[in-house]
Structures are given as structure tokens and as C-alpha cells.
């Protein structure tokens, strides 16, 4: 009896040790911090030049971020089907490889490695949260992979292996704050910066603090608050917002990510925070996140994006029709109520731009495609010719600010004339203002203050940073 008990204990401890080993392994793969200089043409894994082209899709299909990312997988598959129906790329069909990193950041890195090494994909479309992108960055740079990242983010990055089809702060956050400062937006004097506790909200709020300071807002006029992922109790925070806003025009800038938005907006509605009084502008809430909430009490609150489903252009009408037809054909849950949003549009544009780049380069080889992507221009559903900037690897995007309507759609209240160029390094942050992201000669770097190569006769104008 005694020995049996000891044996069982040994067995249990052994099992537990094996279970613990798993996460530890993946920890070592995510040790990198800042994006390093690109590996000098890391030998690409031998790729098949005939047969289907494999394309990786790396989005959370479960966990706290599933509410936002599942629709990106759906629109990616739809775009791939569309390309295949038109004949594929280089006369080869695209074959999607979908993995689920389950809102688990170390698992993102593992899955990325699996996609590139084991599944031999030519490109990966994926990630949403900046922490997931930061986790996979070392993997892509080590294995010389290619990632198209479709979500708005905090900037302060420009990797040789990533193309950013989402907005940088100057294409979303800064115009939103400027709008709220203007008399049209309510002439806000005090600011609440509320976000989920990870790199994107922290960095965006850092940039916004510098920006607000440059506009004369005192330090005690800004309140910063953070909640963990999956947080659901916003009573105290909403009450604090009301106290902070008493007596002066206040606006709330929300970078809350994932399904925490649902209880946050519910609490706003229950405590009676009116949009005409204290407008809340969100950067991570779009049509998809609003689908699960009763939006009647939220009418008037805002979001800043580069695309809204309510934009009325023939290109957008076609995009929406295509997606709705796809949802119906594939029997997706709630197929008739599906919506399109900014990251979906960015995914749609990104995949097609990559396909055009492969056609242009004549191969799926990463080094060749990377150069070709920088030439791509495409008419987007928002009705503009969007160009992907080969210098800083970011997409030129227009800016829209919209108010939530009772049906969960957005009503555009402000927009730019046309697409604007991204500034990955914010000119408001003293450290970043010196840095340049320019992958063309002579700079060839994503975050340096000096060009990598010396020109015999230096250029007269540094035409790298607007």
C-alpha cells in the first residue's frame, strides 16, 4: 500500500513536470526584445515551385481575442477563394493553412514557427494584439518570413519582415484626439486614457501624452487607467471617469482590447454616460465588436478607423456583398448579420497586394516578393488608391471618425481628403522623432538615426520622413 502510494505520487509529479515543460520551451523562443537588423539573407527553406502556394493564417479563434480575430480568418479565406477563382497566383492555387494560437502570446510564436518551418508557407497573414506581433517578430526575422499585419497599432516599429496594413498612430490616434479637441468634437479640455494593460495602449498613451502636452494640456488634466485582459468589472473606473469629468469638458480615449469592451460599454450605458457629455473614442472597437452589444445606449460614442462598413462606394458595396455571400455559402454562424470592418478591409487589401507582388516578382521567394510589395497600389473598398510604402513598409490610409448608430453601424462625422502616409516613429516623442524607418538605399533600416550606407554625395533633402 505504502509503495503503491509512493509510485502514484511519483507518476503524478512526473506528469506535472511534463506539463510544465511545454510552456517553458516556448518561453525561450520569445526572448528577443527590439527588432534587430535583418539577418543577411537567412537561407530560405527549400520551397516547392509547383503545386499550390501555401499561405498561413495566424489569428486567435478562441480566447479573449476571438471576438475580434475570427472574422479576419473568415475574410482571409474569402479573399483566397476569390483569387483562386480568378486563376490563382502564377497559375498556382493558394492553399490556406489556418492555425489557432488561442489568444496565448507565446503560442503565437510557436505557431508562427510551425507555419514557416513545418508548413512551408510563403507568407503569413495574422496577429491582432501588439503583444502577439512582438512575440512572433523574432521568429519572422530569424527565419526570414513575411508577415502582413492588418491591425491598427502603436507604431515605434518597422521590421524588414513585416508589412503593416493597419494604422500607425498618426493615421488613427492623433487625428481622433485632434477632432475631440476641436469645437466640432466637443472642445475637450481634460482627457481620460483608458486601455488594456499591454504594449499597444501603453505606447499609444505615451505618444498621446506628449501630443497633448504639446497642445497645452496640463499633466493633471490627463488620467491614465489600465485593466488586465478579460477584465469585466468597470464600475469603479466609470465612476472615476464621471468624477474626473465634473465641471470641464472631458473626452475618453479607449484602447481596451478584446471582449472586455462588452462589459465596459454596458457599464457606460448603465451609469448613464452620455456621448454628448463625455464622448468615448475607441481605437479597437469596430462593427464586429459592436455586434454582441445592445448599441442603443451607446449612440454617439465614437471610433476612429480607416474604413467603415457604412462608407458608400461601389467598391465597398461589392466587398460587403462578397463577404455576405461567402458567409452564407460557408454557413458561418449568424451569416446574415455579419459585418465588415477596418482590419478585415486591411486583410483583404493586404492579401491582394501580396498576390500582385508575387505576380510581379514571378516567384514566392521572400526576398523578391518583399521588393515587389513596395510598388503595390490598389483601389480599396473605401474608394481610394491605397499605396503600400516600400520605404517604411506601411500602408497609406485615409482617416475616418464615426459615431455609433443604434444599429451598430458608424456614421462618419469627420474624414481626411485622401490617404495619408504613416509615420511609424512618432514626431511627438523626443526619442522617436530622431529615428527613421526607411528600407531603401542608403538607410536600409527600420529604426536608425544614421543611414547604413554612406553616399558619395549626400541627398540634399532627407526625403524619408514627412
Amino acid at each position: 500500500m505504502h509503495r503503491r502510494k509512493a509510485n502514484t505520487r511519483f507518476w503524478i509529479v512526473g506528469l506535472a513536470a511534463c506539463a510544465c515543460k511545454g510552456p517553458a520551451e516556448s518561453q525561450t523562443q520569445t526572448a528577443a526584445s527590439t527588432p534587430p537588423e535583418p539577418a543577411a539573407a537567412a537561407p530560405a527553406v527549400a520551397k516547392n515551385e509547383t503545386g499550390p502556394i501555401r499561405v498561413g493564417i495566424l489569428h486567435s479563434l478562441s480566447g479573449t481575442m476571438a471576438i475580434s480575430e475570427t472574422s479576419l480568418k473568415d475574410v482571409a479565406l474569402m479573399t483566397i477563394d476569390k483569387i483562386n477563382a480568378a486563376g490563382g497566383v502564377l497559375k498556382r492555387k493558394l492553399e490556406p493553412v489556418v492555425v489557432d494560437p488561442a489568444s496565448n502570446w507565446p503560442l503565437f510564436a510557436e505557431k508562427a514557427r510551425e507555419l514557416i518551418q513545418k508548413e512551408q508557407v510563403a507568407v503569413v497573414f495574422g496577429c491582432w494584439t501588439s503583444v502577439s506581433r512582438k512575440s512572433v517578430l523574432p521568429v519572422f526575422e530569424e527565419l526570414n518570413g513575411l508577415l502582413f499585419y492588418p491591425v491598427q497599432y502603436e507604431g515605434e516599429e518597422s521590421s524588414y519582415n513585416v508589412f503593416y496594413t493597419g494604422a500607425a498612430p498618426n493615421q488613427q490616434a492623433i487625428p481622433a484626439v485632434e477632432y475631440l479637441m476641436s469645437s466640432k468634437g466637443g472642445a475637450a479640455k481634460r482627457w481620460v486614457l483608458l486601455g488594456t494593460d499591454y504594449v499597444y495602449p501603453r505606447t499609444t498613451n505615451k505618444i498621446l501624452r506628449y501630443f497633448l502636452k504639446s497642445k497645452g494640456v496640463p499633466d493633471d488634466g490627463i488620467m491614465e487607467k489600465y485593466t488586465p485582459f478579460g477584465h469585466s468589472d468597470y464600475q469603479t473606473i466609470v465612476s472615476d471617469i464621471k468624477k474626473f469629468a465634473a465641471g470641464a469638458r472631458t473626452a475618453v480615449v479607449s484602447t481596451i482590447n478584446g471582449d472586455s469592451n462588452v462589459p465596459f460599454y454596458k457599464e457606460l450605458a448603465n451609469q448613464g454616460l452620455k456621448a454628448s457629455d463625455i464622448p468615448v473614442v475607441a481605437f479597437s472597437v469596430g462593427e464586429e465588436e459592436l455586434r454582441g452589444i445592445d448599441t442603443k445606449p451607446l449612440v454617439g460614442h465614437l471610433a476612429a478607423w480607416n474604413y467603415f462598413m457604412s462608407i458608400d462606394t461601389p467598391e465597398n458595396r461589392q466587398f460587403i456583398a462578397e463577404f455576405k455571400a461567402y458567409a452564407k455559402a460557408k454557413n458561418l454562424p449568424d451569416a446574415d448579420k455579419r459585418v465588415t470592418n477596418d482590419p478585415m478591409e486591411a486583410t483583404y487589401v493586404g492579401i491582394q497586394m501580396w498576390a500582385h507582388a508575387v505576380e510581379q516578382a514571378g516567384t514566392t521567394e521572400v526576398n523578391a516578393v518583399r521588393q515587389a510589395v513596395g510598388y503595390q497600389v490598389m483601389r480599396s473598398p473605401s474608394g481610394f488608391n491605397m499605396a503600400l510604402d516600400g520605404k517604411n513598409h506601411h500602408l497609406h490610409k485615409p482617416v475616418y471618425i464615426g459615431e455609433i448608430k443604434a444599429d451598430g453601424q458608424f456614421q462618419v462625422v469627420w474624414k481626411t481628403e485622401g490617404p495619408i502616409r504613416a509615420q511609424p516613429w512618432s514626431p511627438y516623442v523626443p526619442d522617436s522623432a530622431k529615428k527613421i524607418a526607411d528600407w531603401s538605399y542608403p538607410w536600409v533600416c527600420g529604426n536608425c538615426t544614421e543611414p547604413k550606407f554612406k553616399l558619395e554625395f549626400p541627398l540634399t533633402d532627407t526625403n524619408n520622413n514627412p
Binding site: S62, G230, A246, D259, Q271
Partner: protein, 529 residues
């Protein structure tokens, strides 16, 4: 963008009429809309108020001739004003309204409502105006103050004048304003009052008149007193509501952990099953009883209880029965069960969250005073948790089963030799604990998201409460849950949500070091650990 197009000839004919103003409300330029709002407000009268109110709550519809209608929530339209023929002539459209227009509308409506015959409406309007400085309205408010008889309305009007009067050149006017603030204090006035009491850089008081300073300190202490009480009560409410959630999620665990010494890692999943049972009931109501869909919650309570109890019984029969007295194996086995349950739910309902809507009678809240809103869903959860605790207490202390449960908890062997079928009692207890967890899931479905991983977020908190309060003890769990809830909510405004959780955990660890048996320990001769 929906705009309104009409010929210039018609425009000229309609100029300066009611219809022209209504049509201008449908313009696409917000400045034109604001001008129309002001023109309509100048007309005054009940029709103007009705028109502007309809515009504000997005129920306004106008046709191409300038006839205005209000859309009813039950369908159909009601005419507004004398020029709206029924039935309305299509095409009719709803004017586009954005925050800029809303801000202008709210002020205009408040000013219009100041002339309403109903004193309650006048009071609400005056309080609305008093919330922020509005210099342009001051002369109007002064006029109203002269003829106003109702004491509540007078107080609110005086308060809205206080914004402008604290800066007045006449000290007696300043004193009057400060006394009005002291009479109905609000945090909004704090900066202005503090400014009066402050000193310049040369240590000279900003306000020279001593009487004004005295009035200002009276106002400031009134504001501070209000703030203290508001903070106290709101933190208490938030703490109680968090405590009630903690109580619901840990009550089931205290029963099973206390009685059977079963470390049930699948407890969170029982919560999740209760929440999903609520979702299923909601879907059934939407399908078969759409007119009464708001009452699905009442049917969901027993449904969740039994669903979770059934799952709990299955787990107990198939897994726990064979691991009696082996805590390590039970821990591992129940952890495995939790993974199985999560995956089963994912297969059945999908990996994404499902929407469980709050019924209308649970949405919103009432503002009790200055910035503290008692939200209905949280208040309902507090009451619900008290009801559940009473139910469990009743079962444990007044029923035969409860007597047997308590006996087996105190001394299993002795109870067995007294003739109690301990294995049967185990089964019933686990089922009850699981059922109570299901009830917790119903509450959670109203407060947060419902997804397959719902339980994972709460299992740690449940164990924390049980260990803190003392295992197997109803009073301990109650005290532990409420204590933790209030402590977390006191810590949160000070250190933030993220750090607050860490601080609470550290405090619990320290407490357990000194008193490992928890707050209320079970006393008995043979209480094995």
C-alpha cells in the same frame, strides 16, 4: 449622407414658416441644423418642445413638405405640430444627428423646459443647466429666478447662476453664489471654490474679502463632505457587488471542498455551464415566446441549477467516486474534466463568446446622488446572491440532508457508524454544490461575457475566497467574499485594477500564513485536513 433637396421656388414660399424649419432639420450641414433648432426654440410652445425632443431621441421623421412625425416604438407614426397630415406622404426620412447637434439640442431643450408648467420638468432642466458653466444662459436664468416659486427649482437655478456669480465684482453676489454652492454642493464647483481660497505666489490670498472667504470655506467643506460620503457609499456598493459575485462563485466550492475535501478544478466549468444554460433558455424564449423574452432569466435560474447539478453528478459518479481520499489524484482528474468540459462546450456552441442580453428591467440604473448610479444589474446580483445564500443555509440547517451533510463534514467515520450513507450524501452534496455554481453562472452571464473559458477566469478567485473564509463554512465564505470584494474595490481607485489584484493576493498570503485555517474555522474533534 441623407440630405434634403427642394426647389428654390418652394423654398421661398416656405421661408420663415414652421415647415421650412422642419425641413432645415434634415439638412446635411450641421450648422444649418443648429440654426434651425434655434429658430424652432425661439418659437417656443409644446409643439416646438415635442419636435426637438423627437429629434434628440432619434424618433423624428420628416417628409418632403416639412411635416414632422414621431416614430413610435410599437410601430407607426404620430404627427407633431398642426401641419402634419396623416397618413404621412412618402418619402419620409430621419434627420442625421451627431454629437455636435446633440450638444446644441440639449442646452436648447433644457432652456425650453424651464418654461414647462410641470415643476419636476423645470427642476430637471435647471439641474441639467447647472452642471456646466453656461454664460450665455445666465440672463435667461436670472429672469426665471424672479418668477419661480418652487423651492427645488429655485435652488437649481441659483446653482447655475453660481458659475458666473463667483466671478462677480460685487462681493455680496459672490457670497450668495458660494452659499448656493454650499447648499447643493457638487464636485464640479471644487476648482472654482479652491481658486477663491488659494494664495498668490507672494502668499497673499486671492480673495481679499474675509466674508467671501468664509462663505467659500463653507462651500468647500460641504463639497468635501459630499465627496467623502459619495466615495464611501459608492465603494461600498461596488465592493458589495463584487463580493456578491465572489460569493456566488465560491459557495458551491465551499460545500464540495468542505465536505468531501475534493479540490474541484472543474468548478469554474460548472459556472460556465450555468451561464450557457442561461444562453440556451434565452434562445428558446426568443424562438418560442418572443413577447416574453425579457423574462427568460426567471426560467434560467432553475434550468442552470439542474444543468450544473446533472453535470456535477455525472462527474462525481464517473470520476470522483473512485478517487475518494486521494487529493492529488482528484486535483489532476478534475483538471482533466475541466478541459473536457471546455472542449465539449466549444464543440456545441463554438469557440467564440455567445451573447446573453440583459433584460430591459435589468438595464440602466438610477442616480441616487451626485455621480453615484445604482446600476440595476449589480443590485439584482447582490439580492440574488443573498437569496442563494439563504437557500443554502436553509438546506444545510433545516433539512435532513443538511443535517447529514454537516455530520459527515465534521466526522465522516462517526457519521457512517451512526448509519448515514456517506456515499449517498457525497453524491447529493456534490450535486448541490454544482447546482449552486450553476446559479453563479446565471449571475455571471448578466455581468460579463459568456465564452468557453468563462470558468478559467474565476476559479482562482473562488479558491481564494474559500481558503480565506475557512473551508466548509457558510459564514466564512460570506465574510471572505464580501471582505475581499470591498477590499479590492477600496484598493482599485488607489493603485489601479492590475496592481489592486496583486495587492489583495499578497494580503491573503500574509493572512493565511498567520491563520491557516481561515477566518472562520470549523471546530470539531476530528476535522482532517
Amino acid at each position: 449622407m441623407v440630405g434634403c433637396v427642394f426647389s428654390t421656388a418652394t423654398h421661398a414660399a416656405l421661408a420663415d414658416t414652421w415647415a421650412a424649419d422642419v425641413l432645415a432639420l434634415g439638412a446635411s450641414d450641421v450648422n444649418e441644423q443648429v440654426r434651425a433648432v434655434n429658430r424652432i426654440a425661439r418659437r417656443g410652445g409644446t409643439e416646438a418642445i415635442a419636435l426637438l425632443e423627437a429629434l434628440n431621441d432619434t424618433s423624428l421623421q420628416i417628409d418632403s413638405t416639412g411635416a414632422a412625425y414621431r416614430k413610435r416604438s410599437s410601430g407607426g407614426v404620430v404627427p407633431i405640430g398642426p401641419h402634419s397630415p396623416m397618413p404621412p406622404k412618402p418619402p419620409i426620412m430621419a434627420p442625421v444627428i451627431d454629437n455636435e447637434l446633440r450638444r446644441a439640442l440639449e442646452m436648447t431643450l433644457a432652456t425650453l423646459r424651464l418654461t414647462s408648467p410641470d415643476s419636476r420638468v423645470r427642476r430637471r432642466a435647471a439641474e441639467e443647466i447647472a452642471r456646466q458653466p453656461n454664460d450665455s444662459l445666465a440672463p435667461v436664468v436670472r429672469q426665471m429666478l424672479v418668477s419661480e416659486r418652487d423651492v427645488h427649482v429655485r435652488r437649481a437655478l441659483a446653482l447655475s447662476l453660481a458659475w458666473v456669480d463667483v466671478e462677480s465684482l460685487d462681493p455680496s453676489v459672490r457670497i450668495k453664489a458660494l452659499l448656493a454652492i454650499a447648499d447643493s454642493p457638487g464636485t464640479a464647483f471644487k476648482p472654482a471654490v479652491e481658486r477663491i481660497l488659494s494664495q498668490t505666489e507672494h502668499r497673499k490670498p486671492v480673495e481679499v474679502d474675509a466674508q467671501v472667504r468664509a462663505a467659500a470655506s463653507k462651500a468647500l467643506s460641504a463639497i468635501r463632505w459630499l465627496e467623502t460620503w459619495t466615495n464611501l457609499l459608492s465603494n461600498l456598493f461596488y465592493g458589495l457587488s463584487l463580493g456578491s459575485v465572489l460569493l456566488l462563485i465560491s459557495l458551491g466550492l465551499t460545500i464540495t471542498f468542505g465536505l468531501m475535501r475534493v479540490i474541484n478544478m472543474a468548478h469554474g466549468e460548472l459556472l460556465m455551464i450555468g451561464a450557457y444554460a442561461t444562453y440556451v433558455v434565452q434562445q428558446l424564449f426568443l424562438k418560442y415566446l418572443p413577447n416574453h423574452s425579457d423574462w427568460y432569466l426567471v426560467a434560467a435560474v432553475p434550468a442552470a441549477f439542474f444543468a450544473a447539478a446533472i453535470v456535477g453528478t455525472i462527474v462525481e459518479r464517473l470520476v470522483l467516486r473512485f478517487l475518494h481520499g486521494r487529493p492529488l489524484e482528484t486535483l489532476l482528474a478534475t483538471w482533466g474534466v475541466s478541459l473536457v468540459l471546455i472542449q465539449v462546450v466549444r464543440q456545441l456552441f463554438g469557440a467564440q463568446n455567445v451573447t446573453v442580453a440583459n433584460p430591459a428591467w435589468l438595464s440602466g440604473g438610477i442616480e441616487l446622488f451626485a455621480g453615484f448610479v445604482l446600476t440595476f444589474n449589480r443590485a439584482a446580483v447582490i439580492l440574488f446572491s443573498l437569496a442563494v445564500v439563504s437557500f443554502v443555509w436553509f438546506v444545510l440547517s433545516r433539512t435532513n440532508l443538511g443535517l447529514q451533510v454537516r455530520a459527515v463534514t465534521q466526522n465522516r467515520d462517526m457519521a457512517a457508524s451512526m448509519g448515514i450513507a456517506t456515499h449517498r450524501v457525497d453524491g447529493w452534496t456534490f450535486a448541490m454544490g454544482a447546482g449552486v455554481a450553476g446559479l453563479g453562472g446565471v449571475a455571471l452571464s448578466q455581468l460579463g461575457n459568456v465564452g468557453p473559458e468563462l470558468g478559467q477566469g474565476y476559479i482562482i478567485d473562488a479558491f481564494m475566497v474559500v481558503v480565506l473564509g475557512g473551508v466548509g463554512n457558510l459564514a466564512g465564505t460570506f465574510a471572505g467574499a464580501m471582505g475581499l470584494g470591498i477590499a479590492t474595490k477600496w484598493a482599485e481607485p488607489v493603485v489601479g485594477a492590475v496592481l489592486g489584484k496583486i495587492v489583495i493576493l499578497v494580503l491573503i498570503i500574509l493572512f493565511i500564513q498567520r491563520r491557516p485555517q481561515g477566518l472562520f474555522a470549523l471546530k470539531g474533534r476530528a476535522v482532517e485536513v
